[in-house]
Amino acid sequence: MADAAPSRQRDTTLMGMYLFLASEIMLFGGLFAVALALRLLHPQEVAAASRRLHYGIGAANTVLLLTSSLAVALAVAAAEMGKVKGTVAGLLAAAGLGLGFLALKAAEYGMEIREQLLPAFTPAEAFDSPAAHLFMDLYLVATALHAVHVTVGVALLAGLAWRVHRRSLALPRAATGVEVVGLYWHLVDVIWVFLYPILYLVR
């Protein structure tokens, strides 16, 4: 199937992936628009609400995701050279770092529930202001939607590692498959790179 024109096949695959990623960007774009509107309308309240978040935990989670992106980039490089062990190691390292991100995020949600910061677990009167409540609604929706994407990404990375390990994906011919999953993972990382300052670092 891929024998006729592999480079054209690769271009088509990547282009389809980029179109999907564009739709993901627009999905999160709506949330970024909400963040922008909230900040323009209620700058003081939003900054006060943001200061109550654990920015150190957010930074640690950023380190985990950035490092996982490095692992995926190394896996793609290994896949293109036909190195099975390197590819599997990179993919598994990235999946493990993704799990670490989710564990830290869950612990953070737990702290926020105890501190009466997380909507759905906190009565409306407990928030400092209606704007702070809105901001925390945005925080919960945006980080939960992102966590769903991380979960899907971890499953994709682990599944891919398994198939490469079993040789049901033969490298380097199947390197495009590794590349496509890598693109998805990098985008999930890029979205977090913007969510982190927009949610945690409003001053």
Binding site: D11, L14, M15, Y18, L19, L21, A22, I25, M26, G29, G30, F32, A33, L36, A37, R39, L40, L41, P43, A47, Y55, A59, T62, V63, L66, T67, S69, L70, V72, A73, L74, V76, A77, M81, E179, G182, L183, H186, L187, D189, V190, V193, F194, Y196, P197, I198, L201, V202, R203
Partner: protein, 87 residues
């Protein structure tokens, strides 16, 4: 090693930028803080897109596809800001 070294250099740069954005949040407030955090986030996103997502080796078509999404997002956010800033 020729392939691996730039990937690790980008990772180090990304961590340095993370340090910068946390540092900036400790000293800046208001609009300068917003500009600094979004500027640094954009630099990180550009590094990831250019090196990790390998746009540096792709042709024009793929780069336009990738930039297209950012462009649409800027239209969305731009018109929204125009509305709120001119009330």
């Amino acid at each position: 090693m020729k392939v691996v070294a730039p990937l690790i250099a980008v990772w180090a740069a990304l961590l340095a930028l993370l340090g910068m954005t946390v540092g900036a949040s400790l000293v800046l407030t208001g609009t300068p803080s917003l500009v600094a955090s979004l500027g640094i986030a954009s630099a990180k996103a550009a590094l990831i897109a250019w090196v990790y997502m390998q746009l540096r080796r792709e042709g024009g078509l793929m780069r336009i596809m990738a930039l297209g999404a950012a462009f649409w997002l800027l239209i969305l956010l731009g018109y929204l800001a125009l509305d709120y800033l001119t009330r």
